[in-house]
Subunit: 464 residues, 3 copies
């Protein structure tokens, strides 16, 4: 950060063989317009990557806000580990799996760990990763940074649906395989230039490739795990297990909306302001329409408007617009958001009361149902609308859904058979914070409702 | 987000008639310097819009932190809905009302819903909204995105002052009218090129146009509603109703400062780095001076320094510098912040103890009093200082204040007469979370002080 | 924020003598490539400054999450004041002290308050601070904005280690001197072009200049203060004083990671995308490797994985990569992060159980130990690796460490002798929130464990 270090760095880069071409700004000659646009593209995509990163904090706070206080440490630990594991495995495997054709064969799945093993003394290899010569108008590092932040979101989506009962070790094994294999394989079908891309399937920023992939994982695992104890009575009654900290949940949704500006805006993959600004507007309009619609529907049907529902309505709108954020006019974004807002409301109730799948945060309804809706919407609204496109969208939804469900079932059963999926009833009752981590999230606070459990959990803590 | 989608999109855009001119980066020929600067302007203003968005999270956490835990869900719901309603109505009405002369008459109030109804098959209309041809050096979408995020803040300011006693439905009706009519009409007087602009009134980023407008709304509604039960004794005593969650309040103030970099920095309306960097520095210096000054004043007068006061001091400095952030030297920003820091301290006490208007978060003192101060400061300090300018500033403050007060009184009385403004005493006592939403913000936590109310609120919940 | 204000501003600037050269975009002629790159550099560094600002919220939430609820208000107040004091004193003294050679002698320590006293009527002086002529490719204001946000972090690091027992006034006096004298003096040795820079010492973004400087301050003050009451038994037992709010702590670590994109990314001091994108990737990989490693080590050694440890592992990785973030290949960043993750785990235990220095948040282990590690790593890995470099790094670590320790001891003893360093036992027992501020952080919530203290603190509050 020293002020005069630029010249020194320029000399260093020269010594490395990167030359003037790599960093023309350092040379005497004026930067070319191409170089400047390349800088701008990088800047926007890097900033978008940072915004997508903050979505992980959004998910962490949303999930710990919407679940019980006795499972909060566990959720925070899971979400902190997912971003760590996600970034590391994406460098090791995922990035290569998902974009096999990039980098002129420099990296391939066979050459694992590829990305992390550039020989620093191989000036040409280093230069290839840094110069404007990289084929997409930004550096390889910028590309990885943005894509890696994306990748980890798919696994995080699952985390909320299985909260309060999944074994920590089992979840982390599942999440690692999910983010390093399942997500990049189906991702490659479209974004890696694979067969779905060839077919004409369109998914701008991942209603299907990210959100419904995460949603399918949430559905399979939540179904395999069964509901939390006490969620469904033997008489068929459905009990509400209340969210423990609604300000945390609200912080989560606002941060997710904020991060979505990078998730969708950065998916333009350039600083092309015409498209990026359109995308920011359609994203915001759909979020707003989703939140307002769910708020109104909840008000009309429940007599009192439910905050968690309205917050999920905002997320529903965001997931819904994601597949076609660059294709829609403003009014179409509003309609897509409104439909998503209605869908999420009824889906949450349907999953909870009819399917009796216990999804503490509504991940299945938000990410799977609205992810499917958003993907179909590309065939109904916007510049690509038409029956053939609707067909392609359906094929993409089904193919990616089928692969993801099979993958999750296989891994789920394998993990269940070897490690077990679910904590025992005693641990679930005292909470996973004490059971898996030996700590309380809010030890200074008196927690209601579980006076007996408190003393029980103290015994476990003392023995730990 | 597919890597090779850029070419495809270029073809699509070409098919739409947007042509090479709209997105020269996609063409073979080099981007022009004008195109690049246009891209940079868009980028900065879009990022600023995202930063202004996060201020809504700042307000939500600040307000829920500074009020009672029994009203937290209600505050979060209000603030989530305001941003949704604000964005939607600004597209429908506000944007056209506020900037009537833009877009060569393409949009007008008569042509509602204008902005959201561009015919996607009308290539020329679409192109007009996306190309660099748009008159201000950025796209129409960028402009809307930034302005819409601004608009909703005015209504959010009111929310804090009326917390704990206003009917949810009545507030939402008021906020909708406020953000879609009152704010853009007075905004048009200056930023829309109206009569105050012609006069010479100066308000860089909205000390008056945003903050004191919100502050007047806060004053009128808080006065109409009357104080929370128990706030003022029959013997004239003034009771403190303590803030329930000070970490939330601190999160709010830090996020507001962060978002203010976009609020003021983006108001340069270009990426002109000379002005933007000056603005970021004046903004930070005023915030720091405000916070430190209020902290010291509170320490000297209350013997112990009050955290809420110091946090409001930071906001006071921010509001104070907003009208002239691009006009001040650094030392002037410090002085403006210090004066704001003193003003907010004594104003909070005056409003609370002399006027006996119950403003749970200090919105009137922060946004109205310091908004007026900041607007006047443009006539006292900086490049525009002088008696005539001070006169213009006074005219602007009075005119916008008069309009806003009359508007709020009219709407307030109309809502009061038809829907009622205030919840009943029983609901207020058990809290608006249970009363308006049928839920608790922190159901796992034992809440002190209202053991009786707890069981009462449980009864309401059970019946809900 | 008025749409047509650009022309008016252009005229204003012209009147001020800034001329067309300063803001070519406003003129008819096309902006030059040099001007555009200058704009881009400014933009990136300003955004980075905003990201570094948000680290102060990260520290505030991390520290208040990891300590007891009875000291929360005190921590929030300290951290809010540090950023205010830091920004103001950096303008007054620190900036000049740290970069004495800049600005062609326009500013110097002798000319205090220099930076804040530009005569607004001296068009040349104003212009010099705004034009592209400023020697480093960005404006003086941009430079100050970024550097001032940096400066305050060093003092904030100390804050966590002394939580729960230091007198507020004494801490603020210490922090003011630390941020305005100690930090900029040692900073000048390297980043100001001083003797360590001449020697060949390398510290890209401050593993030593910021983090270990803060860490030395934390060590000296925590040792001088002694442990919190009850932390160490007379029988030599070590007691755990649990963190009161782990979601707050997690919010803190995620925000710090987010802000570190600006801390390291902005330290490139230009928008040079090749280096910035590399830095964002090395930063993320080290953070991920640190978090995962500490999580695993904690799991293996404590049988249950500790959330606070894992969170500190992320910070350890971030501190570790900071000195050489622009010098490392991806795999080197991973190794540096892993080593940092192991180091922080054992260091926390060593400091707590062997040295018996009470550091409630682990600041010494995260910032001092990993700061030293990161600085040494520049001599072991990356483009500068080699025995001579390792020697320079060692010299830098020792020299800056010695100065900082001596400074802190001097100021510490001076403050102790005059004002006293530590609150009395009664105040410490009831908590610094009541003792120093007369308020509770969570007054609505029932706090466990200190039923007796509660009533005691109520007495103090009533008397206050």
């Amino acid at each position: 950060m020293k002020h005069v270090s630029m010249l020194k760095r320029a000399l260093l880069l020269l010594a490395l063989g990167l030359g003037v071409g790599a960093t023309p700004v350092l040379a005497q000659e004026a930067p070319t317009p191409e170089y400047i646009m390349w800088t701008l593209n990088n800047l926007w995509i890097m900033l978008s990557g940072a915004l997508v990163f903050i979505m992980h904090l959004g998910f962490a706070t949303l999930e710990s806000g919407l679940t019980q206080s006795k499972n909060t440490v566990n959720i925070l630990f899971k979400n902190a580990m997912i971003i760590c594991i996600g970034v590391l495995t994406y460098a090791l495997i995922g990035f290569n799996l998902m974009y096999p054709g990039d980098f002129n064969g420099f990296l391939s799945f066979a050459a694992v760990p590829g990305f992390i093993s550039i020989d620093p003394s191989d000036a040409e290899a280093v230069a290839a990763s840094l110069t404007p010569a990289y084929n997409e108008g930004y550096t390889w590092y910028t590309d990885f940074f943005f894509q890696a932040m994306f990748a980890a979101t798919a696994a995080t989506i699952v985390s909320g649906a299985v909260a309060g009962r999944i074994k920590l070790s089992s979840f982390l094994v599942f999440a690692t395989l999910f983010v390093s294999l399942s997500y990049p394989i189906t991702g490659a079908w479209k974004w890696g230039g694979g067969w779905l891309d060839g077919l004409g399937f369109y998914d701008f920023a991942g209603s299907t490739l990210v959100h419904s992939v995460g949603g399918w994982g949430a559905l399979v695992l939540a179904a395999m795990l069964g509901p939390r104890l006490g969620k469904y009575g033997k008489d068929g009654s459905v009990n509400v297990i209340p969210a423990s900290n609604l300000p945390l949940a609200a912080i989560g949704v606002f941060l997710l909306w904020f991060g979505w500006f990078g998730f969708n805006g950065g998916s333009v993959l350039s600083a092309d302001a015409a498209t990026v600004s359109l995308v920011l507007v359609t994203t915001s309009m759909a979020a707003a329409a989703g939140g307002l619609t769910t708020g109104i529907v909840s008000w009309l049907r429940d007599t009192k408007p439910d905050l968690s529902m309205a917050l999920n309505g905002i997320l529903a709108g965001l997931v819904g617009i994601t597949a076609g954020a660059d294709q829609m006019m403003v009014w179409e974004a509003v309609v897509i958001g409104m439909v998503a807002g209605v869908l999420v409301y009824f889906s949450v109730i349907f999953v909870d009361q009819k399917l009796k799948i216990d999804d503490p945060v509504g991940a299945i309804s938000v990410h799977l149902v609205c992810g499917i809706w958003g993907t179909l919407a590309v065939g109904i609204f916007g510049q690509l609308a038409g029956l053939p496109q609707l067909g392609y969208q359906l094929v993409g939804i089904l193919a990616i859904g089928a692969f993801t469900v099979i993958f999750c079932l296989l891994v789920g059963f394998l993990v269940k058979a070897t490690m077990g999926l679910r904590v025992d009833a005693h641990e679930e009752t005292i909470g996973l914070d004490v059971g898996e981590h030996g700590m309380h999230a809010y030890p200074d606070f008196l927690i209601s409702g579980n006076g007996v459990l408190e003393s029980e959990s103290e015994k476990v803590l003392a023995g730990a």
